[in-house]
C-alpha cells in the first residue's frame, strides 16, 4: 500500500513538473514593493525627520528668545512636521506601532501634562523620554505652541514659566530623536525594514505579508479617518451635538489638513506616484466592474473625497473657538455647516467600501487585523 502511494505521488510530481511553467510572474510584486519602499515610504519618513529637526531648532530658537516671530517660526515648523507625519501615518505596520504612538498619540492628556509640570522633580530630556504616549509627541507640542482662544500672547505668557518651557524644549528634542529612529528603521544602517518589507512580499499569504500589510494599513487609516477624525467630532454619537474639541488638531487648525495629508499618502501608496503601485498590481488581475478597472474606481472615490476636502464650506474661516491666530476650517464647518462634514464622512465610507470589497478582495489579501485561522 505504502509503496503504491509513493509511486502515485511520484507520478503526480512528474506530471506537475512536465507542465509548461511560465518563465515569470505576469506582475512583479517585489519590484512594486521595492519602488514603494524606496521612492514613497522612505522619502516620507525622510521628510518627517527633516521637519522634526527643523521643529527642534525652531523651538530651541524660540526658547532662547521668546517673541512673536520665533513663536510663529516654531508654530510653522510644527505644522510642517505634523503634516509630514500624517503622510507617514499610513505605514504604521504592527512592529512600528509603539514608536508611532510616541510620535503622535492623540488625543493627548492635558491634565497629565499639567500634573507633570506641577509635580515632576526635574523636567529634562530623560524625564520626557520616560513619559507615556499621551504626554509627549506632536499633540503635546501643539498643546504648548498653540492657543486658539488667547492667541500668541497667551502662549508667550504661559511659556514664561521655566518648567513649561523646559517641557516644550524636551518634547521637541524627543520628537527629533523619535523621527530619526523612525527613519533609521527603514534604512540599511538602521533596522533595514525596507529590505524586510520587500522580501516579505506575501510572506506565506498571511497578514504579515507586505502586500497584505499595506492593504490593511489603507483600510485602517480610512477607518481611522471615518471614526476618529470625522465621526467623533461630528458628534452623531450617543451624546449628540457636534464636538469640535474632538477634532485631531483643533488648537492648531490643522484637522482638515491632516485628513488631506492622510488621503494624499493613500493615493501616493496606491498609485506608486509616477512608478509602479498597487494600482498596477490590481489592474494586472484584469478585473473590470461596470467596464472600469478597479484602480479607476478607487481613484474616482479618492477624487470625490479630495473634492469634498476642498469644499468651499471648509474655506479659510476663523475658528469657532474664537481663534485670532489659527483657524480650523474643519471645526468651523462642524459648527456652521455640519452637512459638508457629513458628506465627507459618507464619501470616506464609500471609499473604504470600494477598497475593501473590490480592491482588497481581488488582491486576495485578508482585510484582517488579527491573526486567526479561517476555512
Amino acid at each position: 500500500m505504502l509503496k503504491r502511494v509513493i509511486v502515485a505521488l511520484s507520478l503526480m510530481a512528474l506530471v506537475g513538473a512536465a507542465l509548461p511553467a511560465p518563465a515569470r510572474a505576469a506582475f512583479d510584486r517585489r519590484a512594486m514593493l521595492r519602488h514603494l519602499a524606496e521612492a514613497i515610504i522612505i522619502p516620507a519618513f525622510r521628510e518627517f525627520d527633516a521637519a522634526a529637526n527643523e521643529l527642534d531648532s525652531a523651538v530651541k530658537a524660540f526658547a532662547a528668545a521668546p517673541n512673536r516671530n520665533t513663536l510663529q517660526a516654531a508654530q510653522s515648523a510644527w505644522v510642517a512636521a505634523f503634516l509630514a507625519w500624517n503622510r507617514c501615518e499610513l505605514y504604521a505596520f504592527r512592529r512600528l506601532v509603539p514608536l508611532f504612538n510616541q510620535i503622535n498619540k492623540w488625543p493627548m492628556n492635558p491634565k497629565l501634562v499639567e500634573g507633570f509640570i506641577e509635580n515632576a522633580p526635574i523636567i529634562d530630556d530623560r524625564f520626557i523620554e520616560g513619559l507615556g504616549s499621551t504626554s509627549r509627541g506632536l499633540p503635546a507640542l501643539e498643546y504648548f505652541l498653540f492657543d486658539p482662544i488667547g492667541g500668541p500672547d497667551a502662549v508667550l505668557s504661559a511659556l514664561q514659566a521655566p518648567r513649561r518651557m523646559a517641557y516644550l524644549t524636551g518634547l521637541a528634542n524627543n520628537l527629533r530623536i523619535k523621527a530619526d529612529a523612525a527613519l533609521k528603521i527603514w534604512l540599511p544602517e538602521g533596522g533595514n525594514y525596507a529590505e524586510a518589507f520587500i522580501n516579505a512580499d506575501m510572506e506565506a499569504g498571511d497578514v504579515n505579508g507586505s502586500v497584505a500589510m499595506l492593504t490593511n494599513q489603507i483600510v485602517i487609516l480610512l477607518e481611522n479617518i471615518i471614526l476618529q477624525k470625522v465621526f467623533k467630532p461630528l458628534g452623531t454619537g450617543e451624546i449628540g451635538g457636534t464636538m469640535p474639541e474632538l477634532a485631531q488638531a483643533a488648537r492648531s487648525g490643522q484637522s482638515l489638513a491632516a485628513i488631506g495629508a492622510n488621503v494624499a499618502s493613500i493615493r501616493l501608496a496606491f498609485n506608486g506616484g509616477e512608478g509602479i503601485g498597487l494600482d498596477d498590481y490590481v489592474d494586472s488581475l484584469g478585473v473590470l466592474i461596470d467596464g472600469q478597472t478597479l484602480s479607476a474606481r478607487f481613484n474616482a472615490a479618492l477624487d470625490k473625497l479630495v473634492g469634498l476636502l476642498n469644499a468651499p464650506a471648509f474655506g479659510n474661516r476663523l475658528s469657532p473657538l474664537g481663534a485670532t491666530v489659527t483657524a480650523d476650517p474643519f471645526t468651523f464647518a462642524l459648527v456652521n455647516d455640519p452637512a459638508v462634514v457629513t458628506a465627507l464622512w459618507a464619501q470616506a465610507r464609500q471609499t473604504l467600501r470600494i477598497f475593501k470589497t473590490e480592491v482588497a478582495a481581488n488582491l486576495g489579501v485578508l482585510t484582517l487585523f488579527t491573526d486567526g485561522d479561517g476555512d
Partner: protein, 414 residues
C-alpha cells in the same frame, strides 16, 4: 438490535487513526495557546456571539479558559497514547465543543469536524491496540473490532467530503472560478508553481478538480484498487491547500488525520462483537440531513448564510462587509450611530459584518445596552467574491424588533 460478527475492523487502522487524531489535537491546542488566541478569542472580547439557545455558554472567569485548554491538551495526549481513552475522548470532546460554542464568530468547519469526530469516537473502541489501556489490561487487546466501528468513521468523513463537493456545484465556483481566481494570483510568489497561479485557466482547473476531488474521493479511498492513488491525491491535495492557503491553519492536518480511517483493513478473525449503537446511527442520519437544510430558505446560501454553518462549505466564498448601526430612541426620537469596532474585536467585527444573523444579534445587544427602548437599523454593505458591495439588510427595518430564530429572515435583501 443486530450484531455484526463478520467481517471485522482491523484494530490497527482504528489505533492509527486514534494516534493521528490525538497528535493533531495536541499540536492544535498547543499552537492555539502559543499564538495567544486564548486571550484574543475568549478573554479580551467584551461580547460574544452565542449560538441560538446557547447563550449560557460563556467563557470561564479568571484563568479558567487557560485551564480548559490545558485540560484539552492533556486529554489529547491521553487519546494519542490510548491511556484512559474513553474518559479522555469524552472530556476532550465536551471541552472542545464547549469552547467552540462560546462564540460563532470563531466558527470554523474543521473545528466543527473535530467535535463531530469526537462524538463518534466516544462510541467507537479505538484503544484495543497500540494503547496504554490495552497494555495495562490485556483483556482489552484485540486484533479486530466490530466492522461498524470503522464504517461509521468512514461514513462521516465521506459525508464531509461529499457535501463539500456538492457545495462547490455553484455558478461562482464552476463558471467564474471564484474565489480561487482572486486567491491564487496572490500566491504568485511561490517558487515553481507561483507563475502558474496567475493563469486564469489554473483557477478553473483548480475549481473543477477541487469539486471533483471532494465529490468522489471517499469512493476512491474506499475502493481497494484505487486506494493508493486516492491516498496520494489526499496527501497532494492537502499539502497543496496548506501551501496555498496557510491561513487555514491545522485544517489540512485534521483532514489527513481523518483520512487514516480509509487505510486498508486486513482480514482478521473476529473474537469480539458489539451491537451497533443506535445513537450513532441517529447521529449519522442527522449529519446526512443537516447540510441540506439551506434548501428550506430562499436565496443563495452563500449570500444569505442561512444554513451555511455545519454544512461543510469550506473555502468557498470571499466576503467582506461594512456595517454601520443607527440607533433611534423610541421616545425622544434622538438618533445616533454605533460602530462595531468600538464593541468588538477586529476579528469579531469582520465576521459579523457579512453574516446577517450576527448583525441581528449585535443589534439586539446594542438595544439592550441602551435600555431596550431603542430601534436599531443596520446599513450593511457586503461584497461577495470581489463584486461591488451591496446592501444585505433592509436598512429601514428595526432589527431590535426582529426575533432571532431559525425562520427565514424577512428583512434580508436576497
Amino acid at each position: 438490535m443486530a450484531t455484526v460478527t463478520n467481517p471485522a475492523a482491523d484494530t490497527r487502522v482504528l489505533a492509527a487513526y486514534r494516534i493521528a487524531f490525538g497528535a493533531v489535537m495536541l499540536y492544535s491546542t498547543i499552537r492555539f495557546a502559543a499564538n495567544g488566541w486564548i486571550a484574543d478569542f475568549y478573554i479580551r472580547p467584551k461580547y460574544h456571539f452565542s449560538y441560538l439557545g446557547m447563550g449560557w455558554v460563556r467563557p470561564l472567569p479568571g484563568d479558567g479558559m487557560y485551564w480548559l485548554f490545558a485540560l484539552m491538551a492533556v486529554c489529547a495526549a491521553a487519546i494519542m497514547v490510548g491511556g484512559l481513552y474513553r474518559p479522555a475522548i469524552l472530556t476532550f470532546t465536551a471541552v472542545f465543543t464547549y469552547v467552540e460554542l462560546i462564540d460563532k464568530a470563531f466558527y470554523l468547519n474543521h473545528y466543527y469536524l473535530v467535535s463531530v469526530m469526537g462524538c463518534l469516537m466516544i462510541g467507537v473502541p479505538l484503544n484495543r491496540r497500540w494503547a496504554v489501556d490495552s497494555w495495562l489490561r490485556p483483556a482489552l487487546r484485540a486484533d479486530s473490532a466490530p466492522r461498524w466501528a470503522l464504517t461509521v468513521l468512514r461514513v462521516q468523513i465521506g459525508l464531509v467530503y461529499f457535501y463539500a463537493g456538492v457545495a462547490k456545484l455553484h455558478g461562482d465556483w464552476l463558471i467564474e472560478a471564484l474565489p480561487l481566481r482572486m486567491w491564487l494570483p496572490a500566491r504568485a510568489d511561490l517558487p515553481v508553481i507561483g507563475p502558474l497561479l496567475e493563469q486564469r485557466w489554473v483557477a478553473y482547473a483548480f475549481s473543477w478538480a477541487g469539486a471533483a476531488y471532494d465529490l468522489t474521493i471517499p469512493f476512491w479511498l474506499s475502493w481497494r484498487r484505487s486506494r493508493p492513488f486516492a491516498f496520494a491525491a489526499v496527501i497532494g491535495f492537502h499539502a497543496m491547500t496548506a501551501i496555498l492557503f496557510p491561513v487555514i491553519g491545522v485544517f489540512p492536518l485534521v483532514m489527513l488525520a481523518c483520512s487514516v480511517v480509509f487505510l486498508p483493513s486486513r482480514a482478521v478473525s473476529v473474537t469480539l462483537s458489539r451491537p451497533f449503537p443506535a445513537l450513532i446511527g441517529v447521529f449519522l442520519v442527522i449529519q446526512a440531513i443537516l447540510p441540506l437544510r439551506h434548501y428550506l430558505y430562499p436565496g443563495d446560501v452563500l449570500w444569505t448564510e442561512e444554513g451555511f454553518r455545519f454544512s461543510w462549505r469550506v473555502m468557498l466564498v470571499d466576503k467582506v462587509g461594512d456595517v454601520l448601526f443607527t440607533l433611534k430612541d423610541r421616545e425622544s426620537g434622538a438618533v445616533w450611530y454605533a460602530f462595531p469596532d468600538e464593541y468588538l474585536t477586529p476579528l469579531q467585527a469582520r465576521q459579523m459584518a457579512f453574516q446577517p444573523d450576527m448583525i441581528l444579534q449585535f443589534a439586539h445587544h446594542l438595544a439592550d445596552q441602551h435600555g431596550g427602548n431603542v430601534a436599531v437599523y443596520a446599513e450593511a454593505y457586503v461584497g461577495m467574491n470581489g463584486r461591488p458591495a451591496r446592501l444585505i439588510i433592509d436598512p429601514r427595518v428595526d432589527l431590535a424588533a426582529q426575533p432571532d430564530s431559525l425562520w427565514a429572515k424577512s428583512w434580508l435583501l436576497r
